[in-house]
Amino acid sequence: MQHILEVHQLKKYFASQKAVDDVSFTIEQGAIFGMLGPNGAGKTTLLRMITGIFFPDSGTIIFEGKKFDPLHDITRIGYMPEERGLYKKMKIGEQALYLARLKGLSKAEAMKKIKFWFQRLEMESWWNKKVQDLSKGMSQKLQFVTTVLHEPSLVILDEPFSGLDPVNANLIKDEIFRLAKNGCTIIFSTHRMEQVEEICDHIILINKGNKILDGSVKNVKQEFKENVFQVGFEKKPGDIPGNNIFEITGEKDQSVLLKIHEGFKPHDVLQYLLGLNHEIISFNEILPSLNDIFIKLVEGTPLARAFHTAPTSAN
């Protein structure tokens, strides 16, 4: 599959810090790409370079096979920044029209697409409302529409679900999947690991300006697995005698969490348990959640302290 975006050794230093320090990665066409990292890791700076807002100090960006040219290529990109930005006193319809035309759409074309999207997301009745009269979730929807209206080949969404209720979050999520299915590539930046697991194919983790993790969600989980298995019994087992194959790390109702020691296989565990004559009804591997991996990798770095205390909160 073709790479829509290649980033090579990108660097951006500010007076006080190395915001992005030698980061490289590639994104395949049609992928949903998760860009993770604690606050202040350099994600926004990285995204701003990809959207042509900042110039990198060094390194290259290849967009759709050619060197990234902000002047022309920004019309192919849709960027929804973390901090939402809309003109408060402007009418919704006019605002969408303005932003679409800034992306190079003609007036008629923009109108057609706005009508389509407004209908799709049930926003038709908003046309003459002002942004200041909208709820946070409503303006979020509007912001999403203005981001994807011009049918960009690369959509960058920074925390797209913050402030959305579950119904609207699902609505946007479905739209993201649909866009990806139609060949649109999506960069998805968030702190919400459960969303990443659900949505993303591929992730990178940025910390203190460096890329510290790169791979598909599946591979990353495999890489960080700790050989933990869950065994379900028909009725609560009595004491399982200590042994050198595994140790028990947790117990809940009729199931037991255990960690297999180095050198043994799940097969050995089963054999041992069967020998004890307990009725086993389930046996499955517990892969670490991205959240655990995230915390493990980022923990201890000064910037991540604040993040650790509230790992799932946005911002």
């Binding site: 807002i53 920004i74 960027y79 901090e83 930005g85 809309l86 003109y87 303005y98």
Partner: protein
């Protein structure tokens, strides 16, 4: 280019469609009109107020006869067989508004004349009475000195100095020039201030609403800044155009509704009273001298300095708006260095009107940060061509330089949140390349 015109269109349309635009556009001429109306009403009522004036003339100054002028609507009644004390208590009840008491006096002394009233007497009424008494005393003294009034009239000198300015290209009179220069200078000062701060507020709005980041992922920051400046400038021009139309219409409509107003205004006796000289000379002189001014040059310079000054200051205000965060107080601190040259320009302009060729006036009209204001104060007097050309050239040069500099500040500042920016940091943005 297409993006700039889109941005200009948005900046222009959202402002022009706002209710506050309509309100200020209509209200400002209304305020000015009512200001004039009040002046007219006050000056007219001062004269038309017919009141009865009782005169107790113990000195026999008027011989029981007083000359009234055409538009003097007061009636003067001489009373007899009273004293000041006895009549003071009663003049109001007997229907008199004023009571003038002239005690007897010798020719060579100055009498102590009193005018009794219920409220402070209108200045015009008082000066009219003083004029009458002075004339009567003069007449009496002339008679005592055996000089006939005709001889005295020939002796008496009442001159007015006629200021002729000879600057090579025909003569120009100064009074009208000062008026036109001051009005033009003040107008430019106000334009720079009002629309400059409007640009600043617009930039701040975009920054605090975080819309800037969305826009600059579609257009260049410079396009956004320039679009905003031009859009708001166009709003200003629209507003002025509407005002000019309103003023033009008012000159046709007001005489239709109040036929007497302009007639009364141009009544020489009335305006004479306002000028306090008793003649229409001054007004006529101003009108005449304005007619002699190089109006085409003034108009051209006004438009030029309006545009140049606006673009220059709007760029500065935009840079400031991009640097401040939500903190209003911080904005005020940063605005101060920009306000300084504006106020300085205003001060120099007031000096330049009185002394257009002084060193400070020449400097102020060349220095680009003050030249739009100061030069407007000087132009009616005639400015050497080299100075005018140099001033315009410097203004354009500075405008280009400042736009380049402020664009750098703007580009960085508009995406910077939650941090107080120091002058040192701004300097770093400027010298940084790229």
């Amino acid at each position: 280019m297409n993006k700039i015109s889109l941005i200009i269109e948005r900046e222009y349309m959202t402002r022009v469609k706002r209710k506050s635009f309509l309100l200020t556009t209509l209200l400002v001429p209304l305020v000015i009109a009512s200001f004039y109306a009040i002046i007219i009403v006050v000056s007219v009522s001062g004269e038309s107020n017919t009141q009865r004036v009782a005169i107790l003339d113990e000195a026999g100054l008027f011989n029981g006869k007083i000359e009234t002028e055409k538009n003097d609507r007061s009636t003067y009644i001489f009373i007899h067989n009273e004293t000041e004390q006895s009549f003071v208590a009663r003049y109001k009840n007997e229907g008199y508004g004023l009571f003038l008491y002239i005690p007897g006096f010798e020719n060579n002394e100055l009498p102590h004349i009193r005018l009794h009233s219920q409220a402070v007497v209108n200045l015009f009424v008082k000066s009219a009475l003083e004029k009458k008494i002075n004339a009567a005393i003069e007449k009496k003294r002339l008679a005592a000195a055996k000089i006939s009034p005709e001889v005295y009239k020939n002796i008496k000198a009442d001159i007015e100095i006629d200021n002729a300015v000879d600057s090579g290209k025909g003569e120009r009179k100064g009074v009208g020039g000062a008026a036109v220069g001051a009005v033009a200078g003040i107008l430019i000062y106000m334009i720079l201030l009002i629309y400059g701060t409007m640009v600043m507020r617009g930039v701040m709005e975009e920054k605090t609403n975080r819309i800037a980041e969305v826009i600059v992922s579609s257009a260049k920051p410079f396009q956004l800044m320039l679009g905003k400046i031009i859009g708001i400038g166009a709003v200003g021009l629209t507003q002025f155009a509407i005002w000019i139309v309103i003023i033009g219409l008012a000159q046709f409509i007001i005489p239709l509704i109040f036929p007497g107003v302009f007639h009364q205004l141009s009544d020489p006796a009335l305006t004479g009273a306002v000028v306090q000289k008793g003649s229409s000379g001054k007004v006529a002189e101003i009108v005449e001298s304005i007619r002699l001014l190089p109006l085409a040059l003034i108009l051209f310079s006004f438009v030029f300095y309006f545009l140049g000054g606006y673009l220059l200051y709007a760029a500065l205000f935009a840079a400031i708006g991009s640097v401040v965060s939500e903190d209003q107080q911080e904005a005020q601190q940063l605005v101060f260095p920009v306000m300084m040259p504006l106020i300085l320009g205003f001060v120099i302009m007031t000096k330049a009107i009185n002394d257009p060729d002084s060193g400070i006036a020449v400097f102020g009209s060349l220095f680009p940060l003050t030249s739009p204001i100061v030069m407007m104060g000087r132009i009616p007097y005639g400015v050497p061509w080299w100075q005018l050309t140099l001033s315009m050239f410097l203004l354009v040069l500075t405008f280009l330089f400042f736009t380049w500099v402020t664009a750098k500040i703007y580009r960085t500042g508009i995406l910077l949140y939650g941090k107080k920016v120091t002058w040192k940091e701004i300097w770093k943005w400027l010298v940084r390349k790229g």
